[in-house]
């Protein structure tokens, strides 16, 4: 039986297809910095990969800053929670570096080790405790970030990868919306404060 599908020719030019698919499917981000060979192949055959993945029901996104991922609009609550905690982890890391006067755009240069992490924890202890992030949990989250392609483990610490830009973009977007809201003093903001009060009441 001969397969006379137009994809056949293309498939032979995609030797890393299985590896890429497995990587993206597990929710991981591909970073040019961490996996240059895979990235090069993906970039060369970008159209073929995108078309193939779309046919399989996946939305492959490539960012010019050097990372790619399977985009997913919604996720279950577990993943939402994990993502929020990662967001908080990145926030405290960036805030600490910003206080130290480091260039935030060069976050891929930073070496994050456990000593430094515990220092970050001390800086934001109240906030992190309130969200249930203890020093060990911070490290666990970094390990998780490694599995998702936001960071890479090194012999004595971790390094952030360009995929973190997805979080940074969102932070800027959120701050912008927050500023707009406070400028306009929109009813949404009022509603939020009302909710907040009832929440506090419940807690008491």
């Amino acid at each position: 039986m001969t397969i006379s599908h137009p994809l056949t020719g293309t498939l032979s030019q995609m030797p890393a297809l299985a590896e890429l698919f497995r990587l993206f499917l597990s929710g991981k981000h591909l970073n040019r910095l961490a996996e240059p060979a895979l990235w090069a192949e993906l970039e060369q055959q970008e159209d073929s990969y995108t078309a193939l993945f779309v046919a399989l029901g996946f939305d492959l996104r490539l960012d010019a800053r050097g990372f790619a991922w399977f985009h997913s609009g919604e996720a279950n609550s577990n993943i939402g929670k994990a993502s929020r905690q990662l967001a908080l982890l990145f926030m405290v890391i960036f805030d600490a570096q910003s206080n130290a006067g480091k260039a935030l755009q060069r976050f891929t240069d930073w070496l994050i080790d456990s000593d430094w992490l515990s220092e970050v924890y001390k800086q934001q202890q109240e906030l992190l405790d309130a969200e249930g992030l203890h020093p060990d949990a911070l490290q666990d989250h970094l390990v998780r970030a490694c599995n998702l392609g936001f960071a890479v483990a090194e012999p004595n610490g971790w390094r952030l990868l360009p995929a973190v830009c997805r979080y940074l973009d969102h932070f800027e977007g959120l701050a912008l919306t927050a500023k707009d809201d406070s400028d306009e003093a929109s009813p949404v903001a009022d509603e939020d404060t009302a909710l907040e009060i009832t929440d506090d009441g419940e807690k008491d």
Binding site: L25, G73, G101, K102, L104, A175
Partner: protein, 398 residues
Amino acid sequence: MRLSREFAVLTSDQVLNSIARVSAQADVEAQGAVLRALVNANILQTLPRSSDLQLNAYVLEFVRGLTREHELGLAAVLQARVIAIREATEVLNEGMAEADMDRVRSAANKLAELFRQISLQLDQDRHALLELAENAKSADSSMPISQRYRRVLEAYDQYVEPMNQMMDTGPQGTFYHYLEDAEHALDLGLERLSVQGVLYSHRLQLRQVAHQAKELRRFGRLVAQQCADTLLPLREELRQHNVLSSAISLLLGQVRKRGLRRALSRYTDNTALPVWRNERGFKLQLGDEVRMVMAAARAYQPQAVVFPQDEPSEAMQLLEHVEEAAIRAHLARSLPVEDLLDWLNSHYADLQDATLLRLFHDLQHEPDWQFEPAAHPVKTRLQTIRVLHHPHRVSTPE
């Protein structure tokens, strides 16, 4: 040379040390001799009221020219020279109007000198700016960003901005305008001089200066462009740094006040909290059974099935031809009948059950006959079904 960048004034010990570094094999006495020779040649000058030494300014300038290590000049100096161009151009125009060749020549000389100085300064400034940017980029990234980029930002505000204003080709840009005026004046002068017929050397001089002016205009634009291209990305990096850090502190403040989930739940236009699918990679292995199915599928031979030609059609019976008029006539002759269904069944047993029942119901609506149901139900067995019913007595009304 390198020392002189860090210390404006050198002590004799410092100089001796650097001499020792350059020529290590020389003994102390020989090094002292070198120092004295330098001082005698006026390369090193002793400062008044102290025994400290300073590099001769001309030497310093010359060596900097060779190694392209310049300090960034002042935009104001450039501005002053640009204004001087305007004055020289006025003098040139006046000289032309009065046909005073001496004034024309001296004005042209002045312009040439100004052009030379300006292009020299532009070139030096360009190298100084490139070096600033390189230093900022290569500086230790653990150094606070504001400190690393302080000189770049200063250079941008104090030099590149005013430069850009000067180079602006619009009504604001002084440099471009004055230079253009000077160029016009020179071209016009050259033309009139060739019409009037003056010494060839005079015309040549004017023409050379005019060429210089054209070249300077091109070069000036180039330098301004290069400076902006070099410094803008750095400035942009700092700006983004500030945007990001303020965004993060704002968000952290919200998390503190409202909790993480609420702080991050706000809807934004273009961005979203990154989420991912939770699908672990799975493998689908086809069993050997599938191969057998495929083999069977490849060896498939369709079996020939003969279509039945003429079979007595059962379907015909669904629609029976019933001669209802005949049945009514028959029933009318047989009246009175004690049990209508029984009667139908006994006389027309070959009809289907459904047809028989339909007839049974239809006949009951006959207005000419009288129907009386019996008090007790009985069972009547038809072809395939058994019917429990009250027997209907049919008779003609009295």
